[in-house]
């Protein structure tokens, strides 16, 4: 009985120590990436290719889900606001919830599962097939050549994708609210403009999406770089990327929201 409890405790302790260890390694990995990112700007073609695979290829899913999220917000918001006779406030509801929360968060969640998993799988496979070891043999720094351009490509793409998501969502809300249901168009836009502040709402949303972009990309790159060079290892690392970065996004979102919107 005693032995059993001891073993359980030991396992928990090992888990915790192991995760702290990985946290430290990941931080060192981020520092190393930032230190070696000179090449991704002097040879910008490398970064452009990564913007293509992380950003452009995620466009369809981001645009379509943005449109539908906005349309659902328009429908649900109208149903509720109508009972209070204030359906003109639909514009405020749709725009504020998209710009402050849903835009950055949902875009980042989609980005993590669309682009983050691809990054992990790619780097994990590169490691498993010893391409990274081959680069080191040829005195090419894999962090500067492989990791840093991916980091910057994804970090540049993320705020643009979040902005597109929000804009598309507001268009969806407009489509349902004004075109389909018939809320007054002037009230929809003017109330929205009166309520949404550039610095307070839009800029804070952009800051959120940049933070999420960095978090998702670091997790994806690190999991890929750290994956055991086996088929099973790569598959596990890809799963872990999606799970960890989704949790990180939601946790960070709470912290950032508490910072940005709780005061005053």
């Amino acid at each position: 009985m005693m032995d059993f409890a001891q073993a359980g405790l030991r396992r928990i302790g090992r888990r915790i120590i192991d995760s702290i260890w990985r946290m430290g390694t990941a931080t060192r990995f981020l520092a190393l990436t930032l230190l070696h990112s000179g090449q991704s700007f002097s040879r910008f073609q490398l970064t452009i290719r990564e913007i293509f695979s992380a950003g452009v290829l995620s466009l369809i899913i981001i645009l379509v889900s943005g449109l539908f999220v906005g349309m659902v917000l328009g429908l649900q918001g109208y149903e509720t606001l109508q009972t209070y006779g204030s359906e003109e406030a639909l514009g405020i509801l749709v725009s504020l919830s998209l710009v402050r929360e849903l835009g950055p968060v949902v875009a980042a969640l989609l980005f993590a599962s669309r682009a983050g998993s691809a990054i992990t799988a790619e780097i994990g496979l590169m490691k498993a097939t010893e391409q990274i070891a081959a680069m080191e043999m040829m005195a090419v720094d894999p962090i500067a050549r492989v990791v840093a351009p991916r980091f910057w490509g994804a970090v540049i793409s993320m705020p643009l994708l979040a902005a597109l998501f929000s804009a598309m969502g507001i268009f969806g809300g407009y489509l349902v609210g004004v075109v389909l249901i018939g809320v007054d168009e002037g009230a929809f836009w003017s109330q929205m403009q009166a309520a949404v502040d550039f610095r307070e709402d839009i800029l804070n949303g952009v800051i959120k999406s940049v933070v999420f972009g960095v978090a998702v990309t670091v997790i994806a790159l690190f999991e890929g770089y750290d994956a055991p060079p086996t088929a099973e290892g790569v598959s596990r690392a890809t799963t872990r990327t999606v799970v960890t970065s989704s949790l990180a996004i939601l946790g960070l979102d709470f912290i950032l929201t508490a910072f940005m919107f709780s005061g005053v």
Binding site: F52, A163, F198, E200
Partner: protein, 158 residues
């Protein structure tokens, strides 16, 4: 430098993203607000500000002419001191009065300015003398009940 179709796609993506940001800034948010225009600051003391918040609108005749920039407490007179940033395109006489109003029954609170008749205009750093604080619904109901209880009872018909 060699041009590839990949560059074109990335270019389209970046332009679309920046366009979305611009759309958010200009059409959704109101960047052409008072933040960029020149303003002058006027202060007023209220005995109760109710739920007034910084950045609440200041309206005169229903038109937004400025925003509340800061709210603090004066420990000398136990009143709230509200700093208002008014757009310098709009000038008001010195004896302008300020009142805290509510838009609609449950709407946000704002400050309404009622222009006076004096010749001299308000300048930066001036304070408004005539103010009317927010109407607190609880007090109003309390007064009403108190008044009801105080009024003479109707004579017993018996």
């Amino acid at each position: 430098m060699q041009r590839a179709t990949l560059d074109l796609w990335v270019g389209i993506f970046v332009v679309a993203g920046l366009g979305a940001l611009l759309f958010l800034a200009l059409k959704v948010g109101n960047m052409t607000g008072f933040d960029s225009a020149s303003t002058y600051t006027v202060r007023a003391k209220f005995e109760n500000i109710g739920g007034l918040k910084p950045r609440a609108p200041i309206k005169s005749a229903g038109v937004v002419v400025g925003r509340v920039s800061d709210i603090s407490f004066d420990n000398g007179s136990y009143e709230a001191v509200v700093s208002m940033k008014l757009d310098s395109r709009f000038k008001f006489p010195k004896d302008t009065s300020a009142a805290i109003m509510t838009s609609g029954l449950l709407g946000e609170q704002y400050i309404a300015l009622e222009a006076g008749g004096e010749e001299k205009m308000l300048a930066d750093g001036d304070s408004l003398k005539l103010t009317q604080g927010a109407v607190v619904l609880e007090n109003l109901i309390g007064q009403f009940l108190y008044h009801k209880a105080d009024s003479p009872q109707e004579a017993d018909p018996r």
